[in-house]
Amino acid sequence: MKKSKVGKFYFISIFCWLLGVCAALQFGAVPNASTEIMTVLRMPRVVLASVVGMGLAVSGASLQSLFTNPLCEPYTLGISSGAALGAVLGISFGLEWNFLGLAGSAFAGAAVFSIFLFGLATHRRTNNASLLLSGVMLGFLGTSIVALWISLTDSNGMQAAIGWLFGDLSRARMRASIFIAAWVLILVGLIWSQWRELDALLLGEEGASAIGVDLPRTRRRIVLITSVLVGICVSSAGMIGFVGLVVPHFIRRFNGSMHFHLIPLAAIWGSLALVLADLGARYLARPYELPVGVVTALLGAPLFLAVVARGGGHVAK
């Protein structure tokens, strides 16, 4: 793609993002909201939605490339199930009224699963396929323990857990949002700095080693960075599917797969997608609120299918 064309794409992306953020601040459950509602209630949500969307899209893009598998997304490695497990345990121990308590227990769950995966990735003889399979298995394990826990305990706190399992941005507070934003930006920057290795991985494992990429080391790095990133996103906003899977594919269709541009563009569009989805979740069924994960899937899936059905090319191979 020509340079001027990429520049134009960046310009349009940032413009759309600003529009989206303004819209998300302007509209909500209350019409003609005061400045106070905007800054105290909506602003933290918009910031959180922005960075969580960014984190999910970027980790999706890098995992798809690491495993050269278009079906990968942040949840494929099972880290989110670890977070869910941690959160459900946290809720049943009565931590749900405290934002940091819930996020903390979710993050601890994600960390336990990530450490296991990281250990596996460090093993010299593990190849990408077996790492991916182990991640999927971990995911099933986590989800089934969560289901078991929910079906065995019959308490009102489980309502909160179920809400959390479909994504929930309503607990956002300004200070926590800024803290999370800082971490997500740092980790996204770290992934971006690996763009050469990620590009090389598009040629497959052997192809990447043939052009000088130290495969075990790269795999360790990407698994480590994305697990922390996904852990942060999931523990602060719950399980929000789809953004991480679909946004990178959209960018690939429009701008190719080279990560120097793919990562920042996926960051911008992932951020925009979740901000708009959160706006939809607050606005569509007011005064009630929809789970944001449901909105992303309900709007995202038909949109993506429509693009594929229009035959504008292939998504992956």
Binding site: D199, S209, I211, G212, D214, R253, S257
Partner: protein, 292 residues
């Protein structure tokens, strides 16, 4: 640890007292998780030793499964080498090649497989540009020498007859075109040794001859080529020396006309096919014919 690139490849360096590239006593077997019956693990390669001179074009010939690709991948340092399953040494100008970092290895040797895979949309030029990766790993992107990269990429793609494909998506290219792009990537990589593993097999006659001429030219400029091919006649036409591999053992090495004989080929491919060795009427290179 590594002498500078210029020193490594300059003609006048003292390094010429060492052989250009050598493999010594290399043995290898698949690790137990990759075979069905771990008790019956046989050695895929046994005590292979060979040397390749500067500017030499070696054809590595042998039947399916005799270990040709494995040998090339091991020598290039691409396959993992668990200590219990691997012994031997690989030396480039006297240096222990396999102990170099992966990026340094990729600056000296390019391994090219039989096809170029890309799971996601990518243009041919992007794919060739990936060949520059080993020179920039670890730098974020604002490196100097971007123009030099562009020149190198253009040069490589023009030499490999694929500059006109530069904006095409890889998924729209034919097998032969993909092989041209893969070859261009290895030229852009800035190496001096090319390991071609069936990398010309899908090219049409025009491109095969063109690439043959190109590689011959490169060997006169000091590049070395190792070619694995089942197209015996192509390999024998161009190669300056031949290595025969059978069941993981080297059975012969030398110039084509002295090594290639009916008995040598029948020990490779079995007695069931009837082979004749003749000569190309124009170039005099040995050629292999078979009776049906």
């Amino acid at each position: 640890m590594l002498r500078s690139k210029r020193e490594l490849f300059s003609e006048s360096s003292t390094a010429s007292e060492f052989p250009f590239f050598g493999v010594y006593g290399l043995s290898y077997r698949w690790s137990s998780s990759r075979v069905e019956n771990p008790g019956a693990r046989r050695w895929v390669l046994e005590e292979i030793s060979l040397e390749i001179g500067r500017g030499e074009w070696v054809a590595l010939l042998g039947p399916n499964g005799c270990g040709k690709s494995t040998l090339l991948k091991l020598a290039a340092g691409i396959l993992p080498r668990p200590p219990q399953d691997f012994t031997g040494q690989v030396r480039l100008l006297g240096q222990d090649f396999l102990s170099l970092p992966a990026a340094e290895r990729a600056k000296s040797i390019a391994y090219i497989g039989s096809t170029l895979v890309a799971e996601f949309p990518m243009t041919a030029r992007d794919a060739v540009a990936l060949g520059r990766t080993p020179w920039h790993l670890g730098s974020f992107g604002f490196h100097r020498g971007r123009e030099q990269d562009d020149q190198k990429i253009k040069w490589a793609m023009e030499r490999c007859f694929c500059w006109s494909l530069k904006n095409r998506d890889l998924n729209t290219l034919s097998g032969g075109e993909l092989q041209l792009v893969a070859l261009a990537r290895s030229l852009a990589q800035g190496v001096r040794i090319l390991f071609l593993d069936e990398s010309l097999s899908k090219m049409d006659l025009h491109h095969q001859v063109g690439v043959g001429k190109l590689l011959k030219e490169l060997t006169t400029e000091g590049w070395s080529v190792v070619l694995v091919s089942h197209d015996l006649n192509f390999a024998l036409e161009w190669a300056s020396s031949v290595i025969l591999l059978h069941h993981g053992k080297k059975i012969a090495q030398g110039n084509p006309s002295s090594v290639i004989s009916r008995s040598a080929l029948q020990s490779l491919y079995g007695e069931k096919i009837k082979l004749q060795v003749g000569k190309n009427p124009t170039t005099g290179a040995p050629q292999v014919f078979y009776d049906c």
